[in-house]
Symmetry: C2
Subunit: 335 residues, 2 copies
C-alpha cells in the first residue's frame, strides 16, 4: 500500500495554491473563511457530491473527476443566473491515493478555476475505507432578489433548452459498452460530452430578466422540466421533434424511436432548460447569437391537470409519446 | 438487502421539514439557495466531513452522527466569533440505510437546529458502496471585518482555553477499550464528552473585540494553539498545570504524568483556545461568569525561535515537558 499523504502536507502542497487569489480564504490557514458578495448582490449556494462508482467510473482520470465535481456545481448556479465566486471542497480519499493522483486532481481544479473565474475557499480532506468521493459547495452571486427560481413560470410561457440534449447519456452508454453504433470521431464526441460536462456558466447570467424559471439539465430534460412544473404548479408540453440533438446523436438514433425518446430522460446534459414569456423571444434569439450557443424553443407551459405527470411529450400530429421513467436518479447509480 | 429509499422521496420526507424556516432554501425545491447575511455583517463559511470508521464508530447511533456532523462545524465558526445561520448537507448512504435510520438522523439534526438556531439550506444525497459519510458546510455571520482569525495574535498576549481539556480523548480511549480506569458515572461523563461534542456556540461571539486570535480545539490543544502560532508567526508558552481538567479527567490521570500530558495532544475537545491582551483580563473574567463556562488562562504568546516547534509546555519550575506528537490527525483515523 502506498504511503498515505499527511493531511497538513497535502493541504499545503496541493490545495493552498488553489486558494491564493481568494482573500477571504486566508490561505486555508484558518478554521473558516469569509465570503462577501458585491454590494447589491445575493449569494447563491449549491451543493453536490460525486462518488466513484456512482457518478463516475472507478477508472476515471483524476483531472476528469476534479472537473466533473466542479462543473456539475457550476451548472446548478449558472441555471440560476449566478456568476461563480468560490467553492469549498471536502475530499474523501482511499489510503492508496498517491501524490501523482493528487497533483493531477489539483491541476484539473486549477484549470477550471481559471476557465470559470472562481477560487477555493476552504474544505476538508479525510481518509476513507470506501470509494473516493468529493463534495463541493459552490457560491455565486446574482443581483438582489433576481435569482432565476424554478417556481415562477407562467401559463403560455415558452419552454427553451440550451445546446443539445442526449449526447451525455449516449456517451455514457458507449463508455459502458451498452451501445456500439457510432464509430470514430462521433464516438469520441459523445463520450467527451459525458466525460467533461460544459456548464453554461457564461450564458446563464445573460438570461436574467428574461427567463421566468430555469433549472439545469442534470437528471434529464423531462425530469428537470418536471421540477419547474412542480415548483410552479403547472404542466408543460414538449414537441418531441423540436428537442435539439447534435449531429452525432441524430445519426445514432436514426430509425430507433425508443432510443431517441429515451434521450429526453437521459441525464448529465448540463444544459439549461428555462421558460420565458413570448415577449422575450427576440431577446433570447439575440442572446443565443451573441453567445454562439443554440437556444431552442421546444414547447410551452400549460395548466396542470390532476391526472397529469407534469410534462407531456407530443409528436408533430399532437399524439402523446411515452418517454418512460422521467428521470435518471444518481441515488440508484449506474452500476 | 433493505429496499433503498428513493432520493426524491427521502428529501421530501426527511429533509424538507428541516429547511422549513429558511426562506432562502426555497423548500429544497430549487437547484440552489440564497443566503443573505444581515446588513453590515460578513458571511463566515467552514466545511468539515465525517466518515464512519474514521471519525465515529461504525456502531454509532444515527442521532449522534447527525449531531457530531453539525457540532464539529458549529465549533469552527464559534471560534471565529460567528453566530450560526444555516448549513448544507451532502450525505453518502450505504444502500442498506433504512427509514428508521433516516428518521432518527433527521431528528438529531432537527434538535440541534433548534438548540443552536440554524436551518438547512440545501444539499445532496447519494448512494455509496463505502462507509456512510456526511459533509457539512456551515454559514454564520460576524460584524464586517471582525472575524477572529488565527493570525493576529501579539507577543505577550495571554493564552486562554474554554471549558476543560482531555475529556473527549479519554472518552474515546474508554470507548475503544484502551483504558479502563474510571467506573460508573465518571466513565459515562467522559464517554458522553466524546460522543456528543458541546461547541461553544454562545460563548464564541462574546469574545469579539477581546480575543486577538482564536481556533477551536479539534486536533488537540497543542496542535490548535500551534496553528495560531504558525499563522501569527509567534510561539506560545503553556503552563502544564494550568490546563483545566474536569474532575473525572483529573482522577483518571492521577500519578500518570505521560497520560496527563497526552491530554494536551488529544483531539475532539471542541473548546476554544484564544489569545487576548492583558488589558482584556477583567472583560474575559466577566464573560466567563456570565456564560457560566470556565475560561482559564494557561500561558502567553512569545517570540518564535528558529528551532522552536511553536508551543512549549512547562512545569511549575519552568522545565520544558515533552507532549509528543502535537496533533491528532483524522486523516490517519482512529482505526
Amino acid at each position: 500500500m502506498a504511503q498515505p499523504v499527511d493531511e497538513f502536507d497535502l493541504i499545503s502542497r496541493f490545495f493552498m495554491p488553489l486558494a491564493r487569489d481568494m482573500p477571504g480564504a486566508f490561505g486555508l490557514r484558518d478554521d473558516a473563511a469569509v465570503l462577501r458578495p458585491d454590494p447589491g448582490f445575493d449569494l447563491v449556494v449549491s451543493a453536490d457530491a460525486i462518488v466513484s462508482g456512482v457518478h463516475f467510473f472507478d477508472t476515471a482520470q483524476p483531472k476528469d473527476i476534479a472537473r466533473r465535481g466542479l462543473r456539475v456545481n457550476l451548472s446548478d448556479i449558472a441555471a440560476k443566473g449566478a456568476v461563480p465566486l468560490a467553492y469549498t471542497l471536502t475530499l474523501q480519499l482511499p489510503l492508496t491515493t498517491d501524490e501523482i493522483w493528487l497533483s493531477a486532481f489539483a491541476e484539473g481544479l486549477a484549470s477550471d478555476q481559471l476557465e470559470f473565474g472562481l477560487g477555493l475557499l476552504g474544505g476538508d480532506t479525510t481518509h476513507t475505507n470506501g470509494p473516493l468521493s468529493l463534495s463541493i459547495n459552490i457560491f455565486g452571486q446574482v443581483p438582489e432578489n433576481k435569482m432565476i427560481s424554478r417556481s415562477s413560470s407562467c401559463v403560455d410561457d415558452d419552454v427553451y433548452v440550451t445546446g443539445t440534449i442526449g449526447d451525455a447519456c449516449l456517451g455514457l452508454a458507449l463508455e459502458k459498452g451498452d451501445l456500439d453504433v457510432p464509430t470514430g470521431p462521433e464516438r469520441l464526441e459523445l463520450a467527451e460530452r459525458y466525460l467533461c460536462p460544459q456548464p453554461r456558466v457564461f450564458l446563464g447570467p445573460e438570461l436574467l430578466g428574461y427567463a421566468s424559471a430555469a433549472a439545469d439539465v442534470s437528471d434529464g430534460l423531462i425530469a428537470d422540466l418536471g421540477h419547474i412544473c412542480d415548483a410552479s404548479g403547472l404542466g408543460a408540453e414538449v414537441m418531441f421533434l423540436s428537442v435539439p440533438l447534435s449531429g452525432a446523436a441524430r445519426r445514432t438514433v436514426t430509425d430507433n424511436q425508443p432510443l431517441h425518446l429515451s434521450l429526453l430522460a437521459g441525464g448529465d446534459d448540463y444544459e439549461i432548460v428555462f421558460t420565458a414569456p413570448e415577449t422575450a423571444r427576440d431577446a433570447i434569439e439575440a442572446i443565443s447569437q451573441d453567445a454562439g450557443v443554440p437556444i431552442t424553443r421546444i414547447g410551452r407551459m400549460i395548466e396542470r391537470e390532476i391526472a397529469d405527470s407534469g410534462v407531456v411529450v407530443r409528436d408533430d400530429s399532437g399524439n402523446q409519446l411515452e418517454v418512460g421513467n422521467g428521470g435518471y436518479q444518481h441515488f440508484r447509480g449506474f452500476e
